[in-house]
């Protein structure tokens, strides 16, 4: 069997599957469930400075081809999350990615300081949540200058902890945005966050179903968007990419890696494929490498970019 280790900004993963932010990952125990099912790394749900209850239900709504979510960045606050990070490290070996957001540029720095104190393996910066715009305004991640400034603020605080910036597929020219992040000191890029936002209406009550009215689209339907984003980013940066969005099969993960991703983020697939998705993707990747005569993922990464 071909082994699948990858190195992500100096951090070793025994396989390239990464639990995406906001899926399980509310607590050390829920993240550990993904580890028990084979995830190579896990990302915690994004946290801010203060606890947030999030939107009322429905917040997560399956639709054909995926799901809409507008959870509203519910989180227990950075201090409580720091505790979960320490708890996780006490019992799991795989790298933990902490994810942060801020309502202001300064808040990104404050949250980063609290979280970095707990020493996650990686720090992901969510500048791209589409579901709180009524409250926070347009996501920072659509503004190249603001994203570069936030990258610099967080990187200054994170020091040796690698910083990944999580980008939105809505960003104009995502390749050059990723380049701005790299220039501002980012150690990697995670792409993509959920798409849209989208809306689903119940035809009998004639109302939008999500309490937030609209929510980000994820799952199968977004895979082609995510693959295209990762492809464009890979052409513009030399830092590693966690390719995320719509992965439900090993072939989906392969597309991401061929587009240039070092690791693959898995979110909605935990529902549509099941929690066995981490193991299934790894088995499929390994078989593909073996059948094609490759010795590791390094042999194929970004191969689609070569032509």
């Amino acid at each position: 069997m071909v082994e699948l280790p990858v190195t992500l900004a100096g951090i070793k993963l025994h396989n390239p599957t990464v639990l995406a932010s906001g899926i399980l990952g509310v607590s050390a125990s829920s993240a550990a469930l993904a580890v028990a099912h084979g995830a190579g790394a896990v990302t915690l749900k994004s946290c801010g400075a203060e606890p947030r209850l999030g939107h009322r239900g429905p917040t997560i709504l399956p639709v054909p081809g995926g799901l809409l979510n507008a959870v509203g960045l519910s989180n227990p606050g950075a201090a409580a999350v720091a505790h979960e990070i320490r708890d996780f490290r006490g019992r799991c070996e795989v790298p933990l990615v902490a994810s942060i957001f801020g309502r202001t540029e300064a808040e990104f720095g404050e949250v980063a300081a609290i979280i970095c104190d707990a020493h996650p393996a990686l720090l992901e910066v969510n500048v791209s949540c589409p579901n709180v715009s009524s409250e926070f305004g347009t996501p920072f991640g659509l503004d190249h200058d603001a994203t570069a400034r936030i990258t610099r603020i967080v990187k200054d605080i994170a020091g040796t902890i690698p910083v990944f910036i999580k980008l939105s597929p809505q960003a104009h020219n995502i390749g050059s945005l990723a380049r701005r992040c790299q220039d501002a000191g980012a150690d990697g890029i995670t792409a993509i966050n959920s798409v849209g936002p989208g809306m689903a209406i119940d035809v009998y009550t004639r109302r939008p179903i999500l309490s937030n009215l609209s929510g980000g689209l994820s799952g199968r339907a977004v895979l082609p968007v995510a693959v295209r984003c990762v492809y464009e980013i890979a052409q513009n940066v030399s830092i590693p990419i966690i390719g995320t969005g719509g992965i439900t099969t090993p072939e989906d993960a392969l597309q991401m890696i061929l587009a240039g991703a070092t690791a693959v983020g898995i979110g909605t697939g935990v529902h549509s494929t099941g929690i066995s998705i981490f193991q299934e993707v790894c088995r499929g990747l390994s078989e593909y490498l073996e059948e094609s005569g490759f010795t590791g993922l390094d042999d194929i990464r970004g191969a689609a970019n070569d032509r």
């Binding site: 399980l24 990952g25 509310v26 947030r52 239900g57 997560i60 709504l61 119940d202 909605t268």
Partner: protein, 259 residues
Amino acid sequence: MTVEMSTYVVAEVSQQADLVKTIRLLDVPTAMPGQFFLIWLPGIDEKPISVSNQTSAGTEFTICGVGPWSTAMLQVEAGDRVGLRGPFGNGFALADNTLLVGGGMGVAPLRYLAHRLMEEGRSFDLVVGARDASSLIFREEFGRWGARFATDNGDLGHVGTVTELLSEMLRLRAYDSLYACGPEGMLAAVRVIADEHEMAYQLALERLMKCGIGLCGHCCMEGSGLRLCVEGPVLTREMLDGTAEFGLPHRDGSGRRRT
């Protein structure tokens, strides 16, 4: 299972107690006892509710008004529409020679369980507890199956807790296993008694649930990480053994641990 939302017309509403009502919907997907649906009340919220009965005449959900969503559900009338998706979770495995232990609103899923056990000709006994006689819902139905009752204030049946009644029943005769649903303190007491008697058990738990489909992580049990909406809400001894938070306060909507 339908994971996507559909709205259903409420066929009938009945009242069991001051703050307890049952709604009946038609053509709902088939569920096992112990499974639940997410019920959306447009403009208000969406919450998990167990099936309290399912027959060819429809599917019933019994709701106690305790907060904003459940209180609004008490205003729902026949002809109104509510959204539904599910059924979710594992449900109870049906077995012979069992004892059902219900407390408070926990009697709702046990009611459907008892109906199904009857239908399959499996023998069971029932003990049911409540604060007082007026909050002892489905009393007549349970009475027909020979249920024994306990009330905190002694209004009806045994004066005291349903777990005292459980211990008494276990002194009288042997059962192969226990089913229980009710407040978590009661479930913790049932577990201790079951352990003493080395009996198998299936306990139906509650946690805050945002998705019902195993994604959000809010219903994960501390320690094991088990998702109550997928691997639960019915837990056996083996499933509870790796769990650190049983009987303790759990997380609120933000994910913060309650103290």
